[in-house]
Symmetry: none
Subunit: 189 residues, 4 copies
DNA sequence: TATGAATGAGTGTTCATTCAT
DNA sequence: TATGAATGAACACTCATTCAT
């Protein structure tokens, strides 16, 4: 069921897609206003600046993903935990094809503020805890967690960009295999 | 040993680093001129436009990498071939910390011209041939080649961004293990 | 009576005077903006480019003059027809001291577009018809029409530039005599 | 017989043609250098600035024309004197198709210096003397001399622009008739 | 509340001018 | 003497932001 979005959400939606398609700097306020079907001035009723807007978007993404991953996360076996994480990524992208915007954004991007960086750190920290457990249990390679995360998220993100570009068609079977790929990459053989 | 660079190379170097750090649109000509220690006008003696500049950079990167990978590539065992590719990536980034610029650039970026896209396609096609062989020999997972490439390059790129950011220190041991990670991700178990 | 002009008209007025005074290339957008008392960016809300602006001005001038000349034009005696044309020129310059901008603009100016050139051609074609009639009736010299037109408009334009410069004061008597001068130049004696 | 021109003359020739074709502001130093087949820097060995260059050109033109017109000028009948002036114009344009550059240049052009304006004034003053005599002898209309001059030069210039554009082919017969036209315009009937 | 006309700082780019060779 | 690489001020133009309506 599609609901009529309020202007706030229309602006968020439009800017998310434009930031993803063209990058922060090449996505202009007039473009966003047009896609959101609002006046350019209206954007400033909801967001202090273009920078605020992108940070709201970033933080909202990270937080929503963090919340999703955290759910019932710490008490399950490592292999299942990894599956959980992977399917959270899948789910997340299903909710919006641009939802992974925060993964494409380099942490030191000139427009990210401290809060955005801290929220990403929180997410990474949580994943770090999980990977630490996996390493201590001897099921995951003894590599630094940020490297393990980089491998999985990097692989996932690149695949998803193929999907977004229409170069790959996604289905349940493929997802299962990709999950196994990513797990194979980090598990201790 | 530092060599005196000519202005052409200074401009290329400065713009490569700025494009990598801030993206094409946020890297301004005045910034590039300042970092290259030349006047803004000088850039236009060597490059028709900012767009030309980024495409020269992109194409030079892709071509240099393609040349490096292609060397003695087709007649070796798949496992060794993969190792070759991986160490090319390592080598390449050692030559310049920004050398993988073209991997960070989305193929549909608004500033890439047709030639740039074609050169990337040639590289991907070459890798596709390799992965096809691996699949037909039953040593690599039967996933589309672009997916396999996305996994390996995505993982590598994300790791390398950690290195660039100073979050991870690279050494021979780590490299060996990362290579194994990436191979494990795509090999048929 | 001075009426409050809207910004569009203020920009047209300011640029017309500056183009006339300094020429297209030496009249800069900042100058035009200042004289029109608007921001530089505002000019681009109304005109796509400086080139568009000059062509709008040119075409508007030509069309307004063409319309004025055409009125009840074909059925009157040649001598009266000529008088009509001459007094149209006078009237036209009275409406705006810069109205003859299009006569000062060389047809092959690098900034004129095809439409502008076509509109001038239409005007000249109309005058050509008139002069043809004059020649066939044996009251006008049998010179090519474009030469006859060049004589009259060239003479008129140069005189008017004196008026604009303040070197000559215009009055009804002078106008009468000038009209006779121009007619004498082309009539068959 | 064509003589190898020295660089000074090559620069003058090239800039004269470019100033005529495109106007002072749209004719760039690189363009002039290229057409003159010299380096851009060389122009500055001969002329202090672009403005100096255009003024040298202007003054040289005016002076050469003034000299030509002045020759045996004061003691002949008015009608013959006019013919002399007219054929000087013809001669002058035959020497160089761009020689009348100074007639196309508005006296208050932003790049003309005082000397240029004074030299033009001298020429006009000389013509003024001639027209005064014509008026006192009752053979020329009693209009201000600058108006009489404007008529003749305006007509001539406009015709010559047609010739330059290739729209009219000039020949002895046409010249004779044009001279008569111009004389008819100003003579007292 | 919502708009979009208006703004001017800042962009990519050009070009008159300088100067080392 | 002659050059053209180098420069930076100034150009045409864009766009984040403001504000009267």
């Amino acid at each position: 069921m599609t609901t009529a979005l309020n202007k706030y959400d229309m602006i968020l939606k439009a800017s998310l897609s434009l930031f993803t398609e063209r990058g922060f700097d090449a996505a202009t306020i007039p473009m966003i206003a047009k896609r959101a079907d609002v006046g350019a001035g209206t954007i400033y009723r909801y967001f202090d600046s273009k920078e605020t807007l992108v940070n709201v978007l970033y933080q909202e993404s990270v937080q929503r993903f963090t919340k999703k991953v955290r759910k019932d996360f710490s008490s399950i076996p490592v292999r299942e935990g990894f599956e959980h994480i992977f399917y959270c990524l899948i789910d997340f992208t299903k909710e919006s094809e641009y939802a992974l915007f925060f993964l494409e954004t380099k942490k030191n991007s000139h427009y990210l503020n401290q809060t955005s960086r801290q929220l990403l750190d929180q997410l990474l920290h949580m994943l770090d805890d999980f990977f630490k457990r996996g390493k201590s249990e001897g099921v995951i390679r003894s590599l630094p967690s940020n490297v393990l995360i980089a491998i999985v998220l990097g692989a996932f993100l690149n695949i998803y960009q193929l999907v977004q570009a229409g170069d790959v068609e996604i289905n349940a079977e493929l997802i299962t295999e990709l999950e196994q790929c990513c797990w194979d990459a980090i598990k201790l053989h």
